[in-house]
Symmetry: D3
Subunit: 238 residues, 6 copies
């Protein structure tokens, strides 16, 4: 039995709240169990230097955690004067994942920054950030279409993420913090709505794991993201 | 008529949500109109170096704003690698204001850090942070009493803050962002439940102002904080 | 009796030395008792990005303290790699105070940076900096007029600052370091030559204070700044 | 045909030069084609704070690239004042990978830092770093055994890494820079000598990829690391 | 004829003002022509980590320049967040030079920090700093002797510095800024009262120079420092 | 007898390996005994802001040390977030030394950055860097000539450097680390192929030294650099 008492293939309760941020062009607050992330999408009418004049847009992400999102208070990164390696690794992952489902030529020379700020952390924050950021991004593009800044929504598919892990040698879906801390292996899967793999980050925390276990984790991830895709569609009113 | 259409002596709608953060020993989400600040109080069993061995506690504050709390996205301070002068000025003010109503000898060698993170900004964020942080601090001390870490709650009074300004030469209460940007003068008042003045920061944005106007602003601040004190008492169940 | 032995309404000895810095377009060394601040005004023929093309000038300030300006040596901010919150708060105050008496349209697209460096600190350094910086700024504008860079001096009035405090419950003028450390409340007043209030920063260090006390402090500040205005006029040869 | 003209399952020429650094307790220069990384292992007789008194050791890694290791000169991270997100991500990966094959209890309270500095970059630098660092680490532990600091070598297995990618939809082994830049997907596999998976980082650069493709990449990685394990054993004289 | 019109072997007017800083244990303001440096010596009752428990003291230096010490305003290093290479090079030189004439065993475990802050720069600031710092250091040690912290002044000799340069191929003494900018070579000599060489930093700015020229420069430096040693002795009342 | 057992006027074994870096326009790996420095020259088709439009080129240098180049591991400067004063002092010296033998007008508006990275340190790294960087620079200019970016090689002479020191009062040539640590004085000489002095940095570590000793050190430096100049010529195939 896994610590949370959930079935091996059960997600935590998912709540997506689109439009949660007053000023942003697109936004979504996502909860997966206790984990809560506020995702905002901010549109700017210019692109970074390396893309200027190429007729393409850019999508990037920043990630942060409120100091007391966690069990014990962590340093405020702004006060410490730099972002940790973990923060940078996560925000690079979020950016890559969202770019995988955007037709950047169709965006024109716009930039969208996805800010994913963790209000409460209980495991799976990077995955929740990706799933919620997709909704924020979709809404921001809808806003641009409504404002006639772009002709059509350049999103070409859904993307969502979930973490799975090995518990007692068996794969389980959607680890919470207590499970994540004690799992034998931990894998984050970023998948598209049509079943493609965008990114896998699988790490053995203790014993190395086997190919069959990897496939078991991937199977659970497919099941979990199917539910997340449905929730995303509902959130954007599709 | 002021831009918001409110009466000169009308506060915006106030909502205090105690216990809003899952992990913190004390917390309060405060809304004043659109402005929304999450205040958490984190307890630690040791004090900074300059107080070690003196038998006194410490209360300090950190302040931050999510990048898209504002109309247009601001830089993330953690990414830029330093906190702005404005951020530091505000977090020093919050810390001083709360320390004014705590018996630090009675705390013993504990530290409490108040994190005030602005989720949505529409003027008056530093004042909302002070008012909400008082609730978070009170609850954290109650938690310490319940855990028998301290014998009694060392808070010796209430503290709350409100901004007032001159509009068309006349004092108005609780400026929102549009009012704040256009006001002739802007004053933040930090007052105690018994009518004492803890801090005044009054700044002429255009024309210098007169003593009579200062007294008009102070009068409105007394009226506004009276309502805030009532809301705080309700939030802590007093 | 206050620690310094001065009458409640007595300033320390004031010495303004205009032209104290060899290279600067305008400068003034100000002493208030032991406190000594070197103020220089540096003119540059361009404005910050946010003002470019608007036909307005800019006045800003930076503040620093030599490491051994104080009783015990403090860290050198350049070596520590960042300015403290206190430093940033003070330099923002100096800039705002001076901008309050400059017609920035009349400046044209010039920038003036006021550097206020504390050589010896004995309380009231930020107030001395404002009072001395006004002289430096005036002289720099005169220099620009003499060089025919601008047609007329765009200063529209005098500004000076003084700190007052509560000692044994009674207001006293111009706190030195020993008095400032032990005062019940400490208030900095920035006033104009015509009696207007530009900024008030009043802080209760111990007990909150009352409205009547605030008015007592303001009354002393008016008396003190009257003497400072006279000294400024003498320094610029008016 | 892949750009390098190699067969789909062919590694580049591998050269491991153990003992390449004069001062280090263990070291190895590794070349995979043009890619060249100097790996050193430095032993210290104490552990980081979070492990003090627990009777366990620590293995960590730092990664860097000489400014002109690349086609065009990159910024020197020391001059820019911070390590990039990519650098931090890679050094965290190297550390985790090596810790997976060390019995940290058996180390006692020693720390080993693996410095992996890229002298020439032509793709696959993080994988080469892991493979070479294992040799450096093994030699450093042998040095500790020879010095009677520890009783036996606490390495419990081999670990090596290789990158694979999809080229024209087909899996190819050991991407060089030109291949990596143009591949449809890029996956880094960290495997143990006994066939276990320590880490997978698989990223679709263009189209998402399918489960069957993932298995094809993993199959090539097994073949490639088999050759790397043999080279490692030869390098340590086993 | 050199630009300043001085004879080739003429120093600028030297003024040493001992005790110029109110709070420091030792201090000296030094002027060499327009160049003006405030040197303070601050005593602390502990040594840096690398000397703890060795029964030796430490002497170190920090150097800074007020932003408008120069012809055109320079960045404030504290605002920019780091000290320039030039600043660090100079403060290392000052520290080494003073340590050369101190018996650090005789100091006991004390540290002295010499802060050398340039108020006006007109060439030769590092040399003036060394010459003035020696006076500040001597006075600080006298203070320690008077306070019975140490038994006797541990200074074992005088040290002073002067810059010389080649002008029209001929050696000239004590370059001012205009001369320094146009000289063919620039050499700083740090010499002891007994004629020993502590440090030479000689740099060809244009053409390389010859051994005979080096000796010419050294000869002038001996003459110049003889005058500086006399001024130092007068300043300490010897 | 000096610690290394070498004759007083004997250099260590010198090996110059031109073209050691695959990607750089010019490069040279230099060994002097155990000391090993990789020097690369990177060409860029633009100059820093202060030279723009002046028709001159720029040559600058950066210096670094791998963390385990030394006996015990040093901090990685990129991880610590800043370069030490020593690093900055050295890279400024290398840049000045090379600029002394380049006709920057003849370069046109090109920049060349010399990266000197120490792989193994055993004393004399800054001198080895200068000697090796000259070869890298020469080769990079040859590359530019071959590519018809410039008409002729703008190097106007050779430059090389060597350190000498006083051992038992007597001058010895080319100190290794053990000798450098214990020498009475340490002097770095940067000389040109025609016998001119570009830079002297001579420091008494213990006793001040005398003019005659300085001349003895300079004589050895001439002898040592004569050998280095020959090695450079051979390395460039002259």
């Amino acid at each position: 039995m896994r610590p949370s008492g959930r079935a091996a293939d059960a997600l935590r309760t998912i709540i997506l709240e689109p439009g949660a941020a007053h000023h942003a062009e697109g936004s979504c607050r996502i909860r997966m169990g206790l984990t809560e992330v506020l995702c905002t999408a901010s549109v700017e009418g210019r692109v970074p230097g390396f893309l200027r004049g190429k007729g393409e847009g850019w999508v990037t992400a920043e990630y942060g955690m409120l100091p007391r999102a966690t069990h014990s208070r962590g340093d405020r990164e702004a006060a410490r004067g730099k972002q940790s390696g973990r923060t940078q690794e996560i925000q690079r992952l979020i950016g890559r994942s969202l770019r995988a489902v955007v037709d950047r030529k169709a965006m024109g020379e716009l930039s969208i920054t996805l800010d994913c700020d963790v209000l409460t952390a209980d495991g799976g924050t990077r995955c929740a950030a990706i799933t919620g950021a997709w909704v924020a991004l979709h809404l921001a593009f809808q806003h641009c279409v409504a404002k006639r800044v772009i002709a059509a929504n350049p999103i070409i598919g859904q993307v969502a993420a979930v973490s799975c892990g090995l518990w007692g040698g068996e794969p389980v879906l959607d680890l919470d913090y207590a499970e994540d801390s004690a799992a034998q292996a931990d894998a984050n899967f970023v998948l598209t709505g049509t079943g493609g793999i965008v990114e896998i980050q699988a790490t053995a925390e203790g014993e190395p794991f086997a190919e069959a276990q990897l496939l078991g984790l991937l199977g659970l991830a497919r099941k979990g993201t199917a539910e997340l895709f449905a929730a995303q569609r509902k959130a954007i009113g599709a």
